[in-house]
Subunit: 322 residues, 2 copies
């Protein structure tokens, strides 16, 4: 990942300036809230995808940076609302905006960021990009609602889970890559390949997140392992285990999912069942498959430092420990 | 108002069909939540402004109805979030969506509606309308945040209050009228006149709402008088009274604004102070001034049934009792 970041260091520095510059508002407080979350050490995966995809497609201008910033704004807006929905107290080891300023501020500043993103894109006047992004954000909202409806539902199927993560995560990464293709004006086939590349990377990204939620220690992921279980999120490691679990094990899982306070002991017990049926290995295997699919999609692009960087980024997505 | 509604009855019926037809989603639950709030007896002021403005400007097509529906979607999206921010339990005499389905659903379905609105507008491909709407929604979010920051602030000035209501309310009504002008392809001067007409109508609309909050009985406004006071919203009737109040009266108001539970007695006491300094009359006077300004702005439009309807609507805005 250091290599990838090194390759586009200049652009990433400019991205931070873009983020600050585009965030104009008459209300200083908005900047404080956005700053708190957007400058808290996010990995900038989505902007990096915009930058690398546009470079891969031969784009030479500077128009990719505002779009990279906007994609991060939209992501940040969803984080602000997610933290309200999940009642989250920390993110990346810091107090969430809703903890510091209240749920009201998180909801409304998220709304502002989202509106501002569209306002900036409309000024950009690229109709195709607008179409891609408005479709992606609508699907993203649907994904978040599907996830909410499946909360604590022990009967959640693999298919339902895949639908949730496709919409809540993969479509935005897919859109980020498609923006690069649109800026580089490549043909439909390459545009489709990049869109699908982003989608598979997005699926692997969420699968890995859901896996790490069961394996990471508090310090690495900055949110403590077991957060999904606490929030009643039924993710693939658990879904896989439930499929094979006996009645007693299934009852145990169900009881923990319904609990208001999940203890360390509860978490270890559920993790034990997941381990028994190799839920983490299964999740890692599917994640790897998505990354293999993603990589194969780049075959028609000529070799370049940017293609190598996208392939490296894809590998990083599943090999990271945070 | 019955006359106005009668004049465009056919369009208003088609609007309801548009609302249902445009609300496509793979998630049925979203439709349930939106239906609950959007079909709960709202007055459709914003769609009516889109319809009448477009007709005033000679627009003959059917493209105004999707925009009328979209403006109502955006308004509905802000209501869903407002109810979360205000912890509101009822709206128009019915349980709020957040009471029925939880704050999480209201936040996420609001996000969906907002995204969907932009998705529909992007498909509409009218760049000017997109610019007007993305600017308006961004300002709307700023207005909501400004209002939140002023909660329970006894020092709120008239200017600050005007800024809040301009952004949180007037800009969207202004945009609704501007859409009509854009659809009718009138010149810049008429476009500006309609934009300003909508703005002044919007200011009067919010001023009247804030006045009615002190005067309406529970049944008329469907939310009970005194809701603003309970929520710590410092509106013009109160701001005016505070300017003239003596120290003891000001302390009374301040104490009530800080209270977690505002009683009937508290409300009556504050209303007594407002009455003493004629805060309601002052608010009604300013409201009337905005409507007079609005009406004057239509002078360059030739007489027509639609012009008369817009003037009647403006009168209704300040004469309504709910």
């Amino acid at each position: 990942m250091e290599e990838v970041v090194g390759l586009i260091k200049e652009d990433l520095d400019k991205l931070e300036i873009s983020i600050d510059k585009l965030l104009t508002t008459r209300v200083t407080f908005i900047k404080d809230v956005v700053h708190h979350i957007i400058k808290s050490g996010g990995k900038r995966i989505r902007p990096i995808l915009v930058i690398l995809s546009s470079k891969l497609c031969g784009y030479q201008g500077a128009g990719h940076l505002p779009y990279a910033a906007i994609v991060e704004f939209i992501h940040t807006s969803t984080l602000l609302h997610d933290d309200v929905v999940d009642n989250a107290e920390t993110r990346r080891g810091r107090a969430t905006a809703n903890t510091v300023w209240g749920n009201e501020s998180s909801v409304l500043v998220g709304d502002f960021l989202f509106s501002k993103s569209f306002d900036l894109m409309v000024q950009g006047s690229d109709e195709e990009i607008l179409k891609v992004m408005s479709k992606a954000t609508t699907e993203l909202a649907e994904g978040e609602i599907l996830e909410l409806l499946k909360t604590s539902d022990v009967k959640t199927s693999e298919e339902e889970y895949f639908e949730v993560i496709a919409y809540k995560t993969a479509v935005l990464l897919s859109a980020a890559c498609e923006i690069g293709a649109l800026l580089g004006r490549v043909d439909e086939k390459k545009r489709g390949a990049l869109r699908d590349f982003g989608f598979h990377v997005g699926m692997a990204f969420q699968l890995t997140d859901d896996l790490l939620d069961y394996t990471s220690s508090g310090s690495t992921l900055g949110k403590g392992a077991g957060r999904d279980l606490k929030e009643g999120k039924v993710t693939l490691p658990l879904i896989h285990a439930i499929q094979f679990a006996d009645d007693r094990e299934r009852e145990t899982i169900e009881a923990v999912l319904m609990k208001k306070r999940v203890t360390r002991k509860d978490f270890r017990e559920v993790l034990g069942i997941i381990d028994k049926y190799e839920g983490l290995e299964y999740t890692a295997r599917l994640s790897k498959e998505h990354i293999d699919n993603a990589k194969a999609l780049l075959r028609d692009f000529p070799e370049s430092i940017y293609k190598k960087a996208l392939l490296d980024l894809a590998t990083y997505i599943i090999e990271r420990s945070a």
